[in-house]
Symmetry: C4
Subunit: 268 residues, 4 copies
């Protein structure tokens, strides 16, 4: 599959050379060439893993920045994540225009992805979900904080994006324009997670394994923090210094759950 895809890329390159004037629009647009099939495979796996782990249901989406063109990203057509296969993966530019739609529909909120990739060169993967345990934090303004080392990446705080404030009017709650996407990216800043009031959250990472890990443990932290707060004692969160150190150490272990999750997701 990798071999075949590479050959197709070479063919595209040749075509680009000999047919500069007449080249079809979709080909011209694919300046970077096709993405690495391994990245596509990981993106398909990420969709299914996030369903298996209770982060996504019939809604939500995960994307990856194109590995050959930093101004492109890859994401499934408008379909439930659990059903995504390689042929559903589309390519978008950073304005979130599909490069070669071929009749495939796009998620209304793809601007979340495009604008974050534009604002954050370090980000290679983005998850937008309605991760259930996180919703109550976005609706109450109770701060989500790292309860244990697995969610240490939350140390810099988790901002809440309120679309009503951002847009200055009543919306349909959807990040359905570049302007709203930019506004959400501003709220996110340099952090890994932002909540969206009355909606869900967005998580970013430097790879698909990292963004999946963060999305899973953001959900888990929300569940555990709720329970800790109900127990009634004083909750001790990780100190920022502890959290920074823990985040760095855990970063070296992400392959462990990823290997497990991917094997189960692909084996289905």
């Amino acid at each position: 599959m990798h071999h075949t895809a590479r050959r197709r890329f070479v063919t595209h390159g040749l075509a680009l050379g000999v047919a500069l004037v007449a080249r079809p629009r979709w080909l011209a647009a694919q300046s970077g060439g096709p993405a690495n099939p391994g990245l596509i495979e990981d993106l398909v796996a990420a969709n299914r893993i996030l369903v298996d782990q209770g982060v996504l249901d019939g809604y939500g989406h995960v994307s990856a920045r194109h590995d050959r063109d930093a101004n492109r990203y890859l994401m499934a057509r408008s379909i439930a994540p659990e059903l995504v296969t390689a042929s559903d993966i589309m390519e978008y530019d950073l304005d979130s225009n599909p490069v070669d739609a071929r009749g495939r529909g796009s998620y209304l909120e793809r601007f979340i992805h495009g604008e974050i990739y534009r604002a954050r060169p370090d980000v290679k993967a983005v998850v937008h979900s309605h991760s259930p345990s996180v919703i109550p934090f976005g609706a109450t303004g109770v701060a989500l904080r790292p309860l244990y080392h697995m969610s240490a990446f939350l140390w810099a705080g988790v901002p809440v994006f309120d679309i009503r404030v951002a847009s200055g009017e009543m919306t349909d709650m959807l990040v359905r324009s570049p302007a709203l996407g930019r506004s959400l990216a501003q709220t996110l800043g340099a952090r890994p997670v932002a909540l969206m009031r009355g909606h869900g959250n967005v998580v970013v990472g430097d790879s698909l394994p990292q963004v999946v890990f963060r999305a899973v443990y953001t959900e888990m932290n929300a569940k555990l923090q709720s329970q800790a707060m109900l127990l009634g004692g004083n909750v001790t969160y990780l100190d920022p210094e502890e959290a920074k150190k823990a985040e760095a150490s855990i970063a070296g272990t992400l392959g462990r759950p990823w290997e497990l999750w991917k094997r189960k997701a692909i084996g289905k």
Copy 2:
């Protein structure tokens, strides 16, 4: 399958013409002819989907208005929803009398369905369930309100039907008569959801995909709202204007989870 069903319908039509006096009671009653097999298939799927999604257990029922006769509706015989197949689907008139029972038993509470179809011409599908997270709201009078865009359809408020008040006496809690069904339909009014104190809830929609979507996200909203209230901050619900806009936007996406849910339910 569709073809066969249509032919059977034509035959019925002919029989109706040539045998007006002697026609059997069940045939006369089927003035609209058999329902579209696709509708039957969706109704079977809806039963199983609602079990998969934790809305129904061994109890509860989902119905669809007949596509050829607005004065009829379709619902399974008295059987656990998970076991429903096409041959279990029966046809009822709006008095909730079975048109052609052939020995098949009926749900005691079918009047919920018949009376709502009578009162609400816009309604094409009805779910009655004991959806677990919703029960505590019906028992406490704490208002169920839309916490996020997925349950935006709750914006007009969720009334609680108290059968003791409606009937003026102690009952067995079951909506087992046309009068009680009418009373419940009045409480529901023009809204999509009504709770039933000490019992469960009823959800209506303009199609099976919509009513299933609403039943699933009514349960989810109840779960998330409970958690948000326990977190202890002020809960910000969707503003009615936001919710109306969100409801309209989400309406265009119902095919996405429906495709997923149906594929999984039928594949079983």
Copy 3:
């Protein structure tokens, strides 16, 4: 299977006539003859259903009174309920002595069953479990009350058996003697459910389908009542008159979940 079992019973009867002096102990003891194979099958199914429904885990047990001898009951040897097959079912007298152990071990707490069958001629089936949502009620003394019609059978109140009070001393918490079994039966009285402080609960019924139904909905009521109490409003429980009527009506529908549950449990 039924046929074979009946023939074996006839053979036993003959043996009883011709070999009165020399008859083996186990044969003499089987005065009622073998139980109906359908009852054995239902008892095996009940074990697995209660695991499927989250009432039993690796511990707990369900028994049925012998259909031919009211002074006998049937229960699995000491084994995890999920693993029970017909050959694991043993027969006990009301002193909870095994009639024909053949080396098979017995549950330490079988006296719960024997003493309830002795005290309650109306009872045909007993479940003892550590049903999780119920444990906190037994430990806090917060009264378990019927929140909805499915658990209407709780209307007469749910007493709590405290083994420390009953025995007048510190025990190992286990109902491991006839005296403790009698004491628990007294606490239960004429009711369907009793909690056991720091341990679990016992549920009785007039059949296996009824006792399984009651055990499942006792667990569900405990879960929903906890959630309702946390919501913070006033909880409206079923009025006893409503509950009595609801219990009577629901009694006619037990075949519906039983058919579903048994099909899934046996199909495994």
Copy 4:
């Protein structure tokens, strides 16, 4: 399998005799010889059981003391517990150095195991997990106490290890050195369970079945105790005398869940 392994051990013994000077390092180190294959099989099963029971996810580890050499222990290479097979099991000395790594990676926190085996000759098996319901207790200092007989082993109290106090500085939260392992072992003392603030817990036992049982019911007790505390009444925990007696009685029944869990874990 047992037979084959024993023969391999004999071969090793011979090699040890004839090649004393030139013997490879890994062979010299295996002074006790290979572990019993039955112990390896149980250790593989324990990994999978703890995932099935919700104690482990993609992280955490379980070990067993070597049955032929009390100064050695066995644990999987650094891999998700659900994926562990016999070939992943490595041998460690009590300094937590791998005896024969052959390129296989080690868990960063193996010192938890080595130092507990050194400090506690009675301990034959250790589980380290992020068991979810237990995390909030470690973060709040609310004491985990035995709510029912299944978790009676908690009677002596459950200490909380705070790595910041133990190390006197901000750490990455991981027990990644012998010194930190010793400190945790000191906090544990003679007890079966210790919590780790902002991290998880450690559970010990005199066998794999016992440590698995304890890890499962520590998680369950945490869940049930949280619910009991929320119900708002006074929670009655087991009296220490009751708990000691219950622990002794339950100890005789551990084979029952172990048989079930192992059959399901291995059957996968």
